[in-house]
Symmetry: C2
Subunit: 452 residues, 2 copies
């Protein structure tokens, strides 16, 4: 489907926000990035702009002006001299491809209408001139293109500031937990405010992306609140376990999780290629009558860095050796999931973004050469030791919701006793969403703040 | 969440199949793989087993027997001599980690209960012996483990046949379209049969994975049929365009897709990290009164191989240069999606698995060094030329549903005239699902056939 072809049946719950957004963003500015003053991103738009890498175009910055536009000496580029003396160059084929006329570009959909078949890779202008403040190129086939100075500024090639700003638009830079990271360092917010204030929602989303974890307090102690928050961002994602799942102690437990037993640190659904990016856990009722049952969290990104320092060879095994993970069963439907992946997964920039660490669903089958088996176990054990050393513990209270990056943050649970009726009533509800949707929402909200 | 913790609220439509499945699979066998006799995978279970790489353990193959079990000469392994004279070795730590006793392993959930913290990487046996036909190891801490010969056979290390079989379990080997691939070569099936017969469903799913495309005929010409098929496999996936979308001509078209204009070859939603893996297009009503409006398809995997042969340098640019793709708008909710990826994406085995090719949503912003811009356009143009040369055209009939691998197969539409009322009523419905779910369903159905 082409993006223009869409009209949806809107068969899921709509986002509850009624705010009218203005999509208007300037990527380029001469002002320096302000530096964030606090560890946790504050609500001020200055800090948010810093965290997003986007610098708003304020009235103080004069609009860029084109002093001259011409064919470059080597003939390969449009050469633009700016009022401040700087020079920018743009390749002809890229300019033709991005002609902004109504035949070539649909501005409201921000979509290219020109098809590749009709693009002449060797196109060259017959004339280049200024038309008012805009640059006008007439092509040898007679087609005319016009770009305004703002647009040209936003699309400067090989410009470090522009590139950095775009990288932050792609994703906010994550901050690793330091060794002294404490439960009190978990970013905190009020559930009600996040539901009603776009500023608070953005603050929540950016902190979640940057630190990998966020606590929301005073959530109504009833089912459906995860759904409500997910819909405020985008929607809850379905997996073979459905869209929401309860975690509770049962009188006659059929398995470990339904007892008060400890659950080791792990990431969820590692046997999915499309492993859920964000996990929600809502404490509807804590076992008030006892101690224990604390939630445990550790930052896989920090641990990976630690293991790399402690034992580079072990780290090499964890990023290179492929391990099988599987899940076979019947819940939402009958399933047999299977993935073969390294324990520590890095993206194309070499950054750790996904920990495949779940002892329960690590397959008995191991497609690893015999000689590599023990070194691999030693490496996993080293990582496990470091995880347990640096893990933080926080007892969720009734009305707490913890949201975390399921690919980065490992989670578990301490043991608790289940004798008293009070403790048996402990009830959590969980669910998932994905970073595609969360990052999309961040960009929409940031553009809205920029536009204000 | 740990896998044992799940009970779902089952808030989506359940899979319609009521069949009781038996999960029982033997990965090892001495028999040779039969070779598939036809280009399109046939319905016979022999061919399906071949395509899946799984070889069923038939009554003709004697059960493996352990002749002797002992500590290997180097002390590092359990050494098992089989009745046929072959010898297999298993590392101690892996054996301890995969102890099958009820304290260490939950058989119904196929989940490991033993936690990494309690695993001694240097564990060593105090005794190894045969107990009946099973191998029994007593560890130095007194714990006892028992494995049956079948289990040990299925887990042999460094065995080519076992490894191949597992690789096919991970995913079926895809077959590239040859240059003479014709519309008649598209695998074909009957919608009604796929809904009611598990054998037909498996045939459909395997052919879809192997060839990247499948036609289903005699689909009732009404909305909701995509939903029905998706639920038969797993479920329809939501995106920022909702869960199902209509494609129809409008009297006063607001954009290209709602006219009769041609739509160039592309893949959908390339601006998602989790790009939908499978696309459904159901022709509810074709523009019967005119020619034109043919659906166009091309195999991105074949084209990538072709470009690599024709111009290795162009291919290098297409697999290495990162290009921005975006979509900004409001539909199911307000969104701003953004991805930076190569045009041709390869997996960790170097195989092409994802084409990011969509001229409309390729961003105007290009984070590429100035000198690389024109070579990149030349490479894209070369790929586009090859796509258009080898594309196949098929006019969907009312009641046809075409399902294809959205990451591999590019799709488009020929122009058609829209004067007559008849043609204006042309209506398609589309939707998405993911390979995680489709491959899971294949494994479940194959295990079921193996168990029969």
């Amino acid at each position: 489907m082409l993006k223009l072809a869409f009209r949806t049946s809107r068969d899921l719950v709509k986002n509850s926000s009624k705010t009218t957004y203005i999509i208007a963003r300037t990527l380029f500015s001469n002002q320096k990035f302000p530096s964030a003053s606090s560890r946790t991103i504050s609500t001020s738009s200055a800090a948010l702009a810093a965290s997003s890498g986007l610098v708003s175009r304020s009235g103080r910055n004069p609009k860029p002006k084109v002093a001259q536009a011409r064919i470059s000496g080597c003939s390969k580029y449009l050469e633009v001299s700016w009022g401040n003396g700087e020079v920018a160059r743009y390749p002809w084929v890229w300019l033709r491809d991005n002609c902004q006329c109504p035949k070539c570009f649909q501005p409201s959909a921000k979509a290219r209408l020109l098809v590749m078949k009709d693009l002449d890779v060797d196109c060259f202008p017959s004339e280049v001139k200024l038309e008012g403040s805009d640059v006008k190129v007439t092509w040898q086939d007679g087609h005319e293109s016009l770009w305004n100075p703002d647009w040209l500024q936003q699309h400067i090639f090989d410009d470090e500031k522009t590139l950095k700003s775009r990288e932050t638009l792609l994703r906010n830079k994550r901050i690793m937990w330091k060794e002294d990271f404490q439960p009190k360092d978990i970013p905190k917010g009020q559930f009600g405010q996040v539901l009603t204030s776009d500023e608070k929602l953005l603050e929540f989303l950016v902190n979640l992306e940057v630190h990998g974890i966020h606590l929301l307090e005073n959530v109504p102690p009833m089912e459906g609140m995860i759904h409500k928050l997910a819909d405020r961002v985008a929607f809850l994602r379905a997996t073979n376990y459905g869209r929401e799942f309860p975690v509770k102690v049962k009188m006659e437990p059929s398995n470990l999780a339904y007892t008060g037993a400890a659950l080791g640190l792990h990431t969820d659904l590692v046997y999915y290629d499309y492993m859920p990016g964000v996990q929600f856990l809502h404490c509807i009722k804590q076992a008030e009558g006892s101690l224990g049952g604390e939630s445990v969290f550790a930052d896989g990104m920090s641990i990976a860095a630690k293991v790399k320092t402690l034992d580079p060879e072990a780290y090499d095994l964890l990023i290179n050796v492929l391990v099988d993970f599987h899940d076979i069963g019947s819940d939402f439907y009958r399933f047999h999931k299977l993935q073969r992946r390294p324990i520590i997964e890095r993206d194309r920039y070499g950054e750790v973004f996904r920990l495949n660490y779940n002892n329960q669903v690590r397959d008995t089958f191991l497609a690893v050469p015999l000689e590599q088996v023990k070194p691999l176990y030693k490496a996993m054990k080293l990582m496990d030791d470091e995880l347990n050393k640096t893990a933080i513990r926080r007892r969720l209270k009734t009305g707490d919701m913890i949201i975390f990056d399921n690919m980065r943050i490992l989670h578990g649970r301490e043991a608790f006793s289940v004798q008293a009726e009070e403790r048996r009533n402990r009830l959590l509800q969980g669910g998932y969403s994905d970073w595609d949707e969360f990052r999309s929402r961040i960009r929409v909200l940031q553009a809205q703040q920029e536009g204000n």
